[in-house]
Symmetry: C2
Subunit: 326 residues, 2 copies
């Protein structure tokens, strides 16, 4: 696979192609980041990004995971000490999942976000960014009554993080794209360089294929699911025999194969008794999706294989989590 | 004069009376503040506030003058070092004008506004204050296109200053009232006490009596005016023989007597040749205003006296300024 393809596969958006192509010329030692508010248990959303980070490490890049303890503190997630304990569990799960420890730096927001230079730069950006522009970057559509001042300040801090962490590339879900566009427009106004960004896809709700899989609503898959729980969740997933269901619906089983399983395994074997045709072996997502559409691969068999591969991916992190809690 | 009257005379608004009455019971050692972006030359706006501060010192209070160097820095007023030089000139002029050096503390914003605790508290307030509420506190009506993110953050910093400077009372012009109302509503949400506030009046434009006297437009009187300049400016002032001119107009000559001269002098003598009735002596503003309205005091004579008293008030600061520049 060529380097640009490795960097950009399974992304929904590349901002902008020229800059990422230039990065692909010499990715060795270049720094890419993702930021999270510390969470005790990783879910598929984290792991989808982690798959992308693993691709980038394979290309030679260094990964920076920002553990946003300042924001967690402000959101009443505990004392800084408690939040650091949560963040340490997060770190252990990422490494167990497959991030290369030698090429992964975990940084706390409090390491630099409360220092004078950073604070002055936040104020500089507040002064150079119109309120209208910042409102357009707010993470979700906030009505006038519920939007807080923090909703227009946090995007500016995210922009500055990209400068202060000395990055060459940023990664985020599609829900981060407005913040990253603000970063690209506003950083140059205070003398810093805009950085390219890759946006990872949003996986559809597992049970309905409608909207997005969320850690707060509906069924999610997390690092603490047992093999049995995984099997149960995947078995009740929405999986019509097509990659393009009616209306706005998606096929979440295919999405999980595409974004979670194939990037991590050379081949996928769907086990079947000989009487039903015997095992099927796929070397690419395309082949599996084609067979599901043609009827060659039954949704129930696809689900069985998916649950088993997800379990294999999750098992090391699940073990670490249970050791840390023991 | 009773203490409550001394604390509140020549103010346009007391927020709220009960709290200031309680302060008046035991004002000794209580702390009051005013904040300014450092300016090299004081003008009448500064001095009107200073008159109020002198009243409060007379009642036993300690004055804190916040020299907002961080904001000046962000507004491109120079390096921190250059801004401190400007601020030192400001300090010298305030002391020359009559603030009691023993009871006046000059504090730089950079002494605490870039520290971790303060920065965290700014973020707490950003999180607890709705964008709508903060927009209502913006210093001036900003259109959607010109308002910056800083316009919703600065009022929160002003609120926190009142906590961090450990104050019992805040002072500001009427243009600060929205910010102070925000302070009273929002500080308790993050566990701090709201403080009472006194708002000083706005003096009308000197030449027209319309709108407000401004340091950026129209004629202003400043600490560097010579006796001749003062005389010239006051002589061309709007001064109809009434304290209540038509429409929205004000009589700025009477306002200057009321807010600038009478608070600082036991009596005011208007010198007149014997052939025009000889000197007039006033022990109160009311007496002088009554005579102007009745025709007993001619506007031209009132202006002559005003220029002379303003010169007496300004002379010490003017001298200090010229020494510092020599």
């Amino acid at each position: 696979m060529d380097t640009y393809e490795l960097l950009t596969r399974n992304t929904d958006e590349v901002v902008v192609e020229d800059e990422v192509r230039e990065l692909a010329q010499d990715p060795d030692g270049k720094r890419v980041y993702v930021g999270y508010e510390p969470s005790g248990v990783l879910h598929l959303g984290h792991l989808l990004t982690a798959n992308k980070l693993i691709d980038l490490q394979e290309a030679g890049m260094e990964v920076v995971v920002l553990l946003a303890d300042v924001h967690a503190y402000l959101n009443d997630k505990g004392t800084f000490e408690e939040i650091r304990e949560t963040a340490e569990r997060m770190r252990a799960q990422f490494l167990a999942y497959g991030l290369d420890e030698e090429r992964t730096e975990f940084v706390y927001g409090s390491d630099y976000q409360l220092e004078e230079d950073y604070t002055l730069d936040v104020h500089e950006l507040e002064l150079s960014t119109t309120l209208n522009r910042a409102q357009r970057a707010m993470a979700e559509i906030q009505s006038g009554e519920t939007a807080k001042v923090s909703h227009v300040v946090y995007p500016l801090m995210q922009a500055l993080d990209i400068e202060y962490l000395d990055l060459d590339l940023a990664i985020g879900g599609m829900d981060q794209r407005k913040v990253h566009m603000l970063m690209r427009e506003e950083l140059p106004d205070i003398g810093y360089e805009a950085r390219p960004v890759l946006h990872t896809p949003i996986v559809a709700d597992l049970t309905t294929g409608d909207g997005k899989m969320s850690s707060s609503e509906g069924v999610t898959i997390s690092m603490e699911d047992s093999a049995e729980e995984l099997e149960e969740k995947v078995n009740s997933a929405f999986c019509p025999p097509t990659r393009d269901p009616e209306g706005d619906l998606e096929n979440p089983v295919l999405e999980l194969f595409e974004y979670h399983v194939f990037p991590r395994f050379e081949e996928v074997v769907v086990e079947r008794p000989d009487e039903y045709g015997g095992d099927l072996t796929y070397e690419s997502y395309e082949m599996l999706a084609t067979d599901l559409e043609s009827g060659e691969l039954h949704p129930a068999d696809a689900k069985g294989a998916l649950a088993s591969y997800l379990d294999e991916l999750i098992a090391p992190g699940r073990d670490v989590l249970s050791e840390m809690r023991a």
